[in-house]
């Protein structure tokens, strides 16, 4: 983030903490896609992810006075989103239902104007494979690979030591690679 953006964000956070809803709306606008993308890939169902994203920001509004500048706002929001997504997954587990049906839908959001068919297929396979691994592996991969969190930030977000972050990340990659071989399926497509 550029210095100018960082200063603007810091001012918005300060105003939002003081109760300025307009400043908070600006923060929501800045982070809504990142939070939504993470939640969607965690739980797989678009409508549910939209509702959950809204819940995440409502929770963030309530908890904002307790936010400490030592954590980046984005990391803090992702932590709230992660907890909310895990709650949804636990509820699903209790009622014996998995929402993997939505994976194709997630993949459908992928294509851009200049992406080729093979690329889209590959992205679809990656998202499919991602949904098949354990949530604890999925979350750490999303936070590391897409959100670019450092090992220290991963530890803080997931409540793990850096040593555990390292080993869990390695196991998550191995689990995903066991289901996703980027080149293996291209010949069949």
């Amino acid at each position: 983030m550029r210095d100018e953006d960082a200063l603007r964000e810091a001012a918005e956070i300060a105003r939002a903490r003081a109760g300025d809803t307009g400043a908070f709306a600006a923060l929501v606008c800045r982070y809504q896609d990142r939070v939504f993308g993470f939640v969607l890939r965690m739980i797989g169902v678009r409508e549910e992810a939209m509702e959950l994203t809204q819940d995440v920001f409502l929770k963030a509004w309530t908890a904002l006075p307790d936010w400490r500048p030592e954590a980046r706002l984005s990391t803090w929001l992702l932590q709230i989103a992660r907890n909310a997504a895990l709650d949804v997954l636990r509820r699903r587990e209790r009622v014996g239902f998995t929402a993997l049906e939505a994976l194709a839908e997630v993949a459908d959001t992928a294509p851009g104007p200049d992406e080729n068919y093979a690329g889209r297929q590959r992205q679809g396979r990656l998202i499919d494979a991602l949904a098949q691994i354990a949530p604890e592996h999925r979350e750490i991969l999303l936070l590391r690979e897409i959100e670019d969190l450092s090992y220290a930030e991963l530890g803080a977000t997931l409540g793990l030591s850096e040593g555990t972050v390292k080993s869990r990340l390695a196991r998550a990659r191995a689990a995903l690679l066991a289901r996703y071989r980027p080149f293996a399926g291209d010949a069949d497509d």
Partner: protein, 150 residues
């Protein structure tokens, strides 16, 4: 170069650039000569690259504008008169220390306050030494054991 293949953690940390300088140099030297480790490392790197080209699915509407009117009002930030709990604890500690000090002081002074008000007798002094400590005795008979056993 290490002879045995690198474990998953090392390869994964190598992808993330999370190894120490020495460990990274050794791992790279091994990977350069070990096709199996080279293959696994390439797979992890490719995986990482594939993640980075995944598009971010947009939410598709301005959530901020939508929830702005629904945000519950928040009470003004709490301001503690004495600086919060830590100050209260310190205050309570100071009060306790004061009370304890007073009680200890009173225990050193004869309980016959009305009679000895002008010349308090320090009974505890004779406990430390049977020999009267000279001018520390407020009164000659205050420094004898017989007086303590009363």
């Amino acid at each position: 170069m290490t002879e045995t293949c690198l474990d998953l953690e090392t390869l994964s940390a190598l992808v993330d650039g999370a190894l120490t300088t020495t460990a990274e140099r050794e791992a790279r030297a091994h990977v350069a000569c070990c096709p199996a480790c080279g293959l696994r490392l390439n797979e992890m790197r490719q995986l990482s690259e594939d993640f980075h080209v995944l598009p971010t699915p947009p939410l598709g509407f301005d959530l901020g504008a939508r929830i702005e009117t629904r945000l519950p009002s928040r009470p003004a930030p709490r301001r503690h008169l004495w600086g919060g709990w830590s100050s209260l604890v310190a205050l309570a500690g100071a009060a306790a220390a004061l009370v304890l000090g007073l009680r200890l002081g009173m225990s050193l002074v004869s309980d016959d306050v009305g009679r000895e008000a002008t010349t308090p007798v320090v009974l505890a002094m004779s406990v430390f030494d049977a020999v009267p400590p000279g001018n520390l005795c407020p009164r000659p008979d205050a420094c004898f054991l017989a007086r303590v056993s009363r």
